[in-house]
Every structure is written in structure tokens, then in C-alpha cells.
């Protein structure tokens, strides 16, 4: 099963591309092993940071004797500690994520995206966890960096099915309470929930100094509403019905969606959250690489 999941979600061409990529935390994260990312802890590592006056209790081996020779004072050398990243991939598996207008469903897309991110982070020795949720936390695998973690996560990703309603805000709050160390939170969702509950949840992470990336996955039909026949639409989460004439309202619909996405983008930006809208028609690897390249450019 893990092998099958591996083959399914990690296509060799994608893996080969990922080999040259890295997801480096832009903020300082609290890892527990040496890694790619800046740690809040300054210790005695490779990268020199500053000199500090010796304080009783400091190990004598850290005293810079050269400085003592010049200044006759005891200084100790401090180094910036580099640590690994704790990444949390949050995958929305609510019923609305199961929507597909013909090609890949949003959940399917999210599964591929999750697999790629997971692989990428594990490849760079980071620890990665996965949380699958709908209106509550359905599955949670804590972050680990062991090689076996990839198989565990891929198996979980493989078994995810869309169901139930969404309550993104509630889930984000719950996860934020669980996360004790700063890390990277990657949310993959269609965000078809009340923005008033989503954004506070995301801000909760930021408040705890986590870096947050939101992959907003949408089907083109959800953005365009370009159905060519009159139809009765059934809400996949609530089962509510509504008959309408898409031809007549598609313009307004598009405007409303655009406004909604613009609002999300703006408020994410205000909170220092990376907002990445992706359509299911865009190949997930291209969407991911594009984001990583952009992130790299921006430093």
C-alpha cells in the first residue's frame, strides 16, 4: 500500500523536479535537530552570531581566548543555531472538496499537493505532520522527520475521502492550541466556509509565530459558474437545492467570487500569510513550483 501510494502521489517526474527545490522557512522556527532553518536559539553552532560577556555558569570552552588576550576581558562566542522545520499540512476533506466539474476534484488535487509538500519537507530533513479535517479533526499525524513518516503520510493521504461539512476556523483554533513549537502551517482548502471564522483561525497561528501558507484550491466552474443550461444546484455539504439560470447570473457570480478571493488575499497579506489561489486545472506541481520559486525570489 505505501508503495502504491508513493507511486500514485509521487510521480517520478515530479520527484525529480522536487529534488532541486527546497521549502525554507521564511521565519524563525523552533526545530529540534540541525536543519535548513534559522532557530530562535543561539548557541554554539557553525554560524557565528555575536560575542557576549561571560556570565558565571557559561561553559569555559566557549570563552574566546583571543579576545581575552586583546581586551583582558572574558567574552564568549555565540553562534546562530540552524534547526529543522516542523511542518503541518492541513488538508480540508469536507464534502465541497469532492466537487469536480469534470477533471480532478479539489480533494484529489489537495492530496497530490499534500504529498508533494510532504515529500519536499521530509527530503530536506524537516519534520512533517498531516491533519485531515472537515468540521472537526478527522485524522492527525504529528510531525516527524523519520524516513518512515513519508509512508505513513502517503497512506493517510491515500485514504482521505470527502465528507461532511467544513468548519475551518474551529479546526485551526484547535490545531493552534496543540502546536507548542513554532513551525510552518500549510492549509489546503477551498475555504468555502465563513471567512469570519477562517481568518481568526489563521491569525491564531500567526499570533503564535507560526508561518502560514494557504493553498486555496478551486474548481474553474466555481470561479466562473459558466454552466450552459438552467439547472437545479444541490449543495454538496448541506443538500440544499436552488434552481437558477447560470447564463443570467454568471457575471454577478464571478464578480462575487473575485471579490471574495480578493478579500482573502488582502486579509492574508495583512496578517503575513501566504495566500496561494490554485485552480484544479493547473497541474499541482506547476502550481507548487511556481509558488516555491516566487517564495525563493522574495527571500
Amino acid at each position: 500500500m505505501p508503495d502504491e501510494s508513493y507511486k500514485r502521489f509521487l510521480d517520478p517526474t515530479v520527484v525529480s523536479k522536487l529534488a532541486s527545490m527546497e521549502l525554507r522557512a521564511r521565519l524563525i522556527v523552533e526545530g529540534f535537530v540541525t536543519g535548513l532553518h534559522r532557530s530562535p536559539y543561539k548557541g554554539f553552532s557553525v554560524e557565528f552570531a555575536e560575542h557576549r560577556q561571560y556570565m558565571p555558569g557559561d561553559p569555559l570552552k566557549h570563552i574566546d581566548w583571543k579576545v581575552y588576550g586583546k581586551t583582558d576581558r572574558f567574552y564568549v562566542k555565540e553562534y546562530e543555531e540552524e534547526t529543522n522545520l516542523r511542518g503541518y499540512v492541513l488538508l480540508d476533506a469536507s464534502a465541497s472538496m469532492g466537487y469536480s466539474s469534470g477533471g480532478m476534484s479539489k480533494l484529489e488535487y489537495g492530496r497530490y499537493l499534500s504529498a508533494a509538500v510532504t515529500y519536499l519537507m521530509l527530503k530536506q530533513q524537516d519534520s512533517v505532520g498531516l491533519l485531515v479535517f472537515d468540521d472537526a479533526v478527522r485524522e492527525f499525524v504529528p510531525p516527524r522527520s523519520s524516513p518512515r513518516q513519508l509512508h505513513v503520510l502517503l497512506s493517510l493521504i491515500d485514504s482521505v475521502e470527502a465528507s461532511s461539512t467544513t468548519d475551518v476556523g474551529q479546526v485551526l483554533h484547535e490545531l493552534a492550541r496543540r502546536m507548542t513549537r513554532r513551525g510552518l502551517v500549510i492549509l489546503i482548502s477551498d475555504l468555502l466556509d465563513d471567512p469570519a471564522s477562517i481568518l481568526p483561525g489563521l491569525k491564531h497561528f500567526r499570533h503564535l509565530r507560526h508561518e502560514v501558507v494557504v493553498f486555496h484550491v478551486l474548481d474553474p466552474k466555481e470561479a466562473e459558474f459558466d454552466f450552459d443550461i438552467d439547472a437545479t444546484f444541490r449543495d454538496m455539504e448541506t443538500g440544499d437545492l436552488m434552481t437558477t439560470e447560470p447564463f443570467s447570473i454568471s457575471g454577478d457570480y464571478r464578480a462575487a467570487v473575485k471579490e471574495w478571493m480578493a478579500g482573502l488575499r488582502r486579509r492574508c497579506a495583512e496578517s503575513g500569510i501566504d495566500y496561494v489561489p490554485v485552480m484544479t486545472t493547473t497541474p499541482y506541481d506547476r502550481a507548487l513550483f511556481s509558488y516555491l520559486e516566487k517564495r525563493k525570489r522574495l527571500g
Binding site: M97, L192, A231, R234, T243, T244, E245, S248, G251, V257
Partner: protein
């Protein structure tokens, strides 16, 4: 105020206005249900837009229905008539004027104030109607005398042409046929150019003219292309071949009811048993005056009054006036029965002619021509005792030679116990009788019952021979019923003047056949069969033999007058030539011996060349003899024959059909009566002039179409 539709059939198209609704309901049931991730944005839009869309959809539905309705109404060509339409456009109209030119229209008016006949009043009315025609109106003219005729082939768009045609019409002597004329008019209108169609019936509304219900003839589709209009067609954009629109009919009774006395028939018979050339005349008189009256009747022969009689008749009653008069039987005679002048002069006279009594050629056909006794021998002796051929000239042949004879030579053929006839002989006799020849059949020893009962012999159809009977004591021959005119002078009480015993005869069953003599208690003895009026000759059958083994007939003198009268009767000498009614064909037998061309002098002073009829019996015919009176057939300056043409007696009944009766005859045709005092212009134009609303509906349809396109294209945003 009246809304009518010139093309009402298209109103059915209004049902199509339901189509958008049906499509809407149908498609609504078939709307697909689509799973969608979230209705969140749709709910937001519903508050703002979707309700508006529903309103727009309902609006579109209504507009599309109204659009179809407007198109259907435009095609149905609604026309608003009445005060509100005053000043509105003139609806192009096709009209047919049915003008009664029958004999009764030549009568004076009921009031007696006007010296003109009522046809003059009808003509004025027709011209007034013609004056109401406008540019683009099409007019037809049909005369209502039988048979109805269209006077303007293809109609005319010219008011002047119509007026000229109306002025040329004069009342004739023909009978009235409103039903036929209206049917002809409907036929013309079915191919008329304009869809607004009207029918004007102008006449005295004589009851006899409305005998039949109007039978709208099936439309022949497009008008005959050969029927080119007699006027200029100023557009003709309204052509619609084979239209089925019912026109509006206007009926103009030009005069009220009026009383009338009429001679409705005159007949004469040669009387037997009296002086030579003695005739009895019978005239039937109708009292249509509405009161009891003593009607004086006069008989004229060759212009001289020879009899006078009075007939007392109550209102509506018919009675007979009888006269007797002697004439020179060697000459033609013209005569008439006459009543005093009244409001309708044309039916106060009834004409007849008396042909001269000529020698009659008789062919006697025997089973055995050489026989010196028997039926053929006695028949020859009875008809031409001295062999001089004064009254009858006889020729005796064997039955086997019959087929070789020239049928035109003989006025009568006597089958005197001729026995079984060969097929060619039977065919000869059939042709002969069918062409008007008389046949006298004397049965006897050689009679073949099977051939007779097969019905092959002319006249045998209604007479079935049961079996021969034989009576040793003898059966006395007796007159049938009240005594047939043929036996005048030969009957004494209920017996014949001679006691004639019959020992053998044929019992026969002949229901409905005229009996002259009978075997008391056994059945008919002498029968006269024939179908008068169909042109075929009369057939007499004697059911006993003229032979001593059969009867006493050869021994008595009775056989001579009996045979003379029977042969005279079947050869057509006993009665006057058949009555010919105006408009019919007057046929007069004239030998075509090549002695010169025959010319006819008509009663109205005209001259014409009659048509010679072919066939075995030479005759000439005047086709469609419309003028009542005596027709003289002249050859080389000498009158060789006369013929009488009389008014159709139905014209003498001047009673008018009630409005209910006329309405019943017109059936579903919309109609209105216009009385003499009514303002014709007001009545007619109120109906004809109207505002055609089809343009309005077209504009409405276009406006609705534009609105529909605007709404349909507009998105909810």
C-alpha cells in the same frame, strides 16, 4: 360595434400562444440537478438577482405568448365595424350580386303605385349596391333564374362594368332558383380575391326559389385562370385561392306579397267516338289571390275565342276549367287558355298546339306472315280494312325479318303473336321504343312466357305473365275502373258496347301499369305501359289473342275502333305534344327529307335555325327556349310544325318565403335582411366599412418581439 375576422381559420393559431407556457412547464420538469460545492454565492445572488430573473422569465413567458397571439390575430385579419371604426380604412371586399330575373320579377308591385315591374325596383337596388363598391372591390353578378348563371366571368373591379351588366339584364320566363344562385355565388366567392366577402340577394324572395337548402359547392381551388377579370385589377394583393371564408349575405326583398290568378296547365285530348276532330281541353287554374273568386277562363284556338268557362275557387285552391272544340285534323292549330289581366300577366296565358292527324305507318310483325288468320291478319284488316292506307298504312312482315327494317319509317310496331324474338330483333325493338316509337303487343299461341318474363321486350318490365288460362264458358271482356278515355263511346255503363267473350288469355301481375280492359276477376286484359317524359314510346299489351280460339274479338266490330285507338295512342296521336317549360328544349318531329332548311320563328319575333337531332326519328330542337308562346317551324315559307313553350307553373305561386324559411335554407351563412325602406348605404357600409386591425397587431407583434429580444438578451446584472 362588431369585431369580425376575415380569415377566422387563423384564429386556431391563437392556441399556439400556449406553446411558450407548455414548453416552460415541460422544460421545468426536465431541469437537471447538478451537485455543486456550495450555494453560498448563489444564496447571496438570489437575494439580489435571482428573484428578478424569475420575474423576467415570467415576463418573457407572457410576452412570447402575446407575440404568438398577436401574429395569429393579425393573420386572422380582425376588422372592427361600427361607430368606433368610423373613418377607418376600407376593407377590400368581393361581392356577388344575385339578381332575380325570373318570370315572377316581371309582375307589378304589391302597392300598385308604381307602373314599373318589381324587376325595376330590384335593378335600382342592385345599382345602389354597386354604387357602394370602392376601389379594389371585386364584383360578380349572378342571375337567380334557373339555371343560375354568372354574368361576369372572373368578376370585375370596375363599378361601371358592373352597372352596365346590371342594366342589360331583363326578367325572363324562367323559374326562380335562389338556392342554386346562392350556391353559385358562394362558389365564385370561394375563389374571390378579397377575403372580405359579401353576397347580395335581390328579388321577390319567392318561396319556390328557396326549395332547396343552399349547397355550398366544394371550392375548386384557385380561380380558373381563363376567367380573366372584366375590369382592371388594381393590386390584387389579397388573393388567397380556395379561401373558405363564409361571406355575409344581405337579402333584399323588393316587394311584399301579392295576389295572383294563373293558368298552371292546359291539356287536350282527342276524343274518340264522337265527331271527327273533336278535342277536350282542360285548364288548371290557381287562385293565389288570398280570397274566394269566380275566375273567368277563355279558350282561344288560332286566335279566336272558342270557349269560356268560370271556375269558382277559394283562396289557394286549384281547379279545372273544361272545354270541347272541334278542329280540322288536317292542319296544325295554335291555342291558349287565358285569364283576365292581373298583377302578374305572364302566367295568365298558357299555350298549346294541336298537330294534324297524319297517316300512320304501322309495321305488323307476325310469327307466321303467310297465315290467313290469327292476330297479324286481323290487326292488318282492322287498321287498314280496304288496303287504301287512308288512316294507317300497314306493312306485314315475319318476325325473322324485323331486324332488317328501317325503324324511322314506322310510328308504331305491332307484335302480333310474333312468338319468340331473336336477339337482334329484341335489340331492334328496344332501340325503336327508346327512340320514341310506339309498340302494340298482342299475345297468342306463340308467346314465349320465359322470354317475356325475362323483361327483354320493352314494356314487359312491369308486367309479369303468370300463366295462360282457359275458360270453356268464356270470360267477358270488361272496361277497367271508371272507363279509360280510349274507350270513350265504346262503353255502355260498366260493359262494353259489344259482348266479347274470351276463352283463353294470360293471367298477369302488373302493379302500377295503366289498365284499359280487364278479365273480371282474373286480371288485366289490355295494358298501357310506358314512361312518359323520358322520350321513349308507349307500349300497349293485349293479354288475349285475336283469334277465334282465344276470343270473340275477330267476330265483332269492336276490334276496329279498339285497334285504331290503341295504335293511335301508342303512336302519340292521342294527346298534344308534351308541355315544354321555358328554358327547356323544344323538340318537334320534322321529317328530314331534304326539302329545305327549317327556320324557327320565336314568339318574341326572333328567328333562329333549330338543331337537327340525329337518330332514327327525325326531329329538330330549339335549345333553351326561353320565350313563352308558340314557335313556328317554317320550311320554304310554309309552317310545317308548331311548338308551345310555357311558363314554369312554380313561378305562378307568388307567395314569399318567410325569413325563418330563408334562414333555414342559408344554414350557417351569416345573413341579414334589408327591407325596402331601409337605408341600404347605412346597412351595408356599417358592415363593410371597418378598420382592419391586422396592421395594429403586426405592430404590436413587432413591439413585443423587440421587447422580448431586449429582455432575453439582458443579463440579470
Amino acid at each position: 360595434m362588431d369585431l369580425t375576422f376575415l380569415n377566422a381559420a387563423f384564429l386556431l393559431g391563437a392556441l399556439a400562444a400556449l406553446l411558450p407556457l407548455i414548453i416552460h412547464l415541460f422544460s421545468r420538469r426536465r431541469v437537471e440537478t447538478v451537485d455543486f460545492s456550495s450555494l453560498r454565492f448563489l444564496r447571496e445572488l438570489e437575494r439580489r438577482k435571482i428573484r428578478r430573473i424569475r420575474v423576467r422569465q415570467i415576463l418573457l413567458l407572457i410576452i412570447r405568448s402575446l407575440l404568438i397571439l398577436a401574429v395569429a390575430l393579425a393573420l386572422a385579419r380582425p376588422t372592427l365595424r361600427g361607430p368606433l371604426a368610423a373613418g377607418g380604412g376600407h376593407a377590400r371586399t368581393s361581392v356577388v350580386i344575385v339578381l332575380d330575373d325570373s318570370a315572377s320579377m316581371s309582375r307589378g308591385s304589391a302597392s300598385g303605385e308604381s307602373e314599373r315591374d318589381i324587376f325595376g325596383l330590384a335593378g335600382e337596388t342592385a345599382l345602389e349596391v354597386a354604387g357602394l363598391l370602392d376601389e379594389g372591390d371585386q364584383a360578380f353578378l349572378v342571375t337567380a333564374s334557373y339555371p343560375a348563371r354568372s354574368e361576369l366571368q372572373g368578376g370585375t373591379f370596375s363599378r361601371g362594368t358592373l352597372a352596365d351588366a346590371l342594366r342589360e339584364i331583363e326578367p325572363g320566363a324562367l323559374a326562380t332558383d335562389y338556392s342554386g344562385a346562392v350556391a353559385e355565388a358562394l362558389d365564385l366567392l370561394s375563389g374571390a380575391r378579397n377575403l372580405n366577402r359579401e353576397l347580395y340577394v335581390i328579388g321577390d324572395m319567392q318561396k319556390s326559389g328557396w326549395r332547396d337548402a343552399v349547397d355550398a359547392r366544394p371550392s375548386g381551388g384557385a380561380p380558373n385562370p381563363d376567367d380573366s377579370p372584366a375590369g382592371e385589377d388594381p393590386g390584387g394583393a389579397d388573393a388567397r385561392p380556395g379561401g373558405a371564408d363564409r361571406p355575409t349575405a344581405f337579402l333584399f326583398p323588393v316587394d311584399g306579397p301579392v295576389g295572383n290568378f294563373a293558368v298552371v296547365s292546359a291539356s287536350a285530348r282527342r276524343r274518340y267516338g264522337g265527331a271527327e276532330g273533336l278535342y277536350s281541353f282542360t285548364a288548371e287554374i290557381l287562385n293565389g289571390s288570398g280570397r274566394q273568386a269566380e275566375v273567368p277562363v277563355r279558350l282561344f284556338l288560332d286566335g279566336v275565342q272558342v270557349g269560356r268557362a268560370g271556375v269558382s275557387l277559394s283562396s289557394g285552391e286549384r281547379g279545372s276549367a273544361r272545354f270541347s272544340a272541334s278542329v280540322d285534323e288536317a292542319e296544325w292549330h295554335r291555342g291558349w287558355v287565358e285569364l283576365p289581366a292581373d298583377v302578374f300577366a305572364a302566367d295568365n296565358r298558357r299555350y298549346f298546339v294541336i298537330p294534324p292527324l297524319r297517316r300512320t305507318e304501322v309495321l305488323i310483325v307476325s310469327g307466321e306472315a303467310e297465315e290467313r288468320s290469327g292476330e297479324a291478319y286481323y290487326a292488318e284488316r282492322a287498321l287498314d280494312p280496304a288496303g287504301e292506307g287512308r288512316r294507317f298504312r300497314t306493312a306485314l312482315i315475319d318476325a325473322s325479318d324485323l331486324a332488317a327494317q328501317d325503324p324511322a319509317r314506322f310510328a308504331t310496331v305491332v307484335l302480333a303473336d310474333a312468338g319468340r324474338l331473336g336477339d337482334d330483333a329484341v335489340e331492334w325493338v328496344e332501340r325503336y321504343v327508346a327512340s320514341g316509337g310506339g309498340l302494340f303487343v298482342i299475345l297468342g299461341d306463340r308467346t314465349d312466357l320465359r322470354q317475356w318474363n325475362s323483361g327483354d321486350i320493352p314494356g314487359s318490365g312491369g308486367i309479369r305473365l303468370i300463366e295462360p288460362f282457359e275458360s270453356r264458358s268464356g270470360v267477358r271482356l270488361a272496361p277497367s275502373g271508371q272507363g279509360h278515355p280510349l274507350l270513350e263511346g265504346l262503353v255502355f255503363g260498366e260493359r262494353l258496347i259489344d259482348d266479347i267473350g274470351v276463352t283463353r288469355g294470360f293471367a298477369a301481375d302488373a302493379p302500377g301499369v295503366e289498365q284499359v280492359l280487364e278479365f273480371p276477376g282474373l286480371g288485366p286484359a289490355l295494358l298501357l305501359a310506358g314512361t312518359p317524359g323520358d322520350g321513349s314510346g308507349e307500349v300497349a299489351v293485349l293479354l288475349t289473342g285475336v283469334d277465334r280460339e282465344w276470343s270473340d274479338l275477330p267476330r265483332t266490330g269492336f276490334v276496329v275502333p279498339l285497334f285504331h285507338r290503341v295504335v293511335g295512342e301508342v303512336s302519340g296521336l292521342g294527346a298534344l305534344p308534351r308541355d315544354v317549360l321555358a328554358g327547356g328544349d323544344l323538340v318537334v318531329p320534322i321529317a328530314g327529307d331534304g326539302a329545305g332548311r327549317v327556320e324557327v320563328r320565336t314568339p318574341d319575333g326572333g328567328r333562329l335555325i333549330p338543331e337537327h337531332l340525329g337518330g332514327s326519328r327525325a326531329a329538330v330542337v330549339v335549345r333553351d327556349a326561353v320565350a313563352p308562346g308558340i314557335y313556328e317551324f317554317v320550311r320554304n315559307g310554309a309552317v310545317v310544325a308548331l311548338g308551345a313553350v310555357n311558363l314554369d307553373p312554380s313561378e305562378s305561386d307568388l307567395s314569399q318565403a318567410t325569413r325563418e324559411e330563408i334562414s333555414g335554407r342559408l344554414g350557417e351563412i351569416e345573413h341579414a335582411f334589408v327591407d325596402p325602406g331601409d337605408d341600404i348605404e347605412e346597412r351595408v357600409l356599417a358592415s363593410r366599412r371597418g378598420r382592419e386591425l391586422w396592421r395594429v397587431f403586426v405592430y404590436v407583434a413587432l413591439a413585443l418581439l423587440a421587447l422580448e429580444m431586449f429582455l432575453a438578451r439582458q443579463r440579470a446584472g
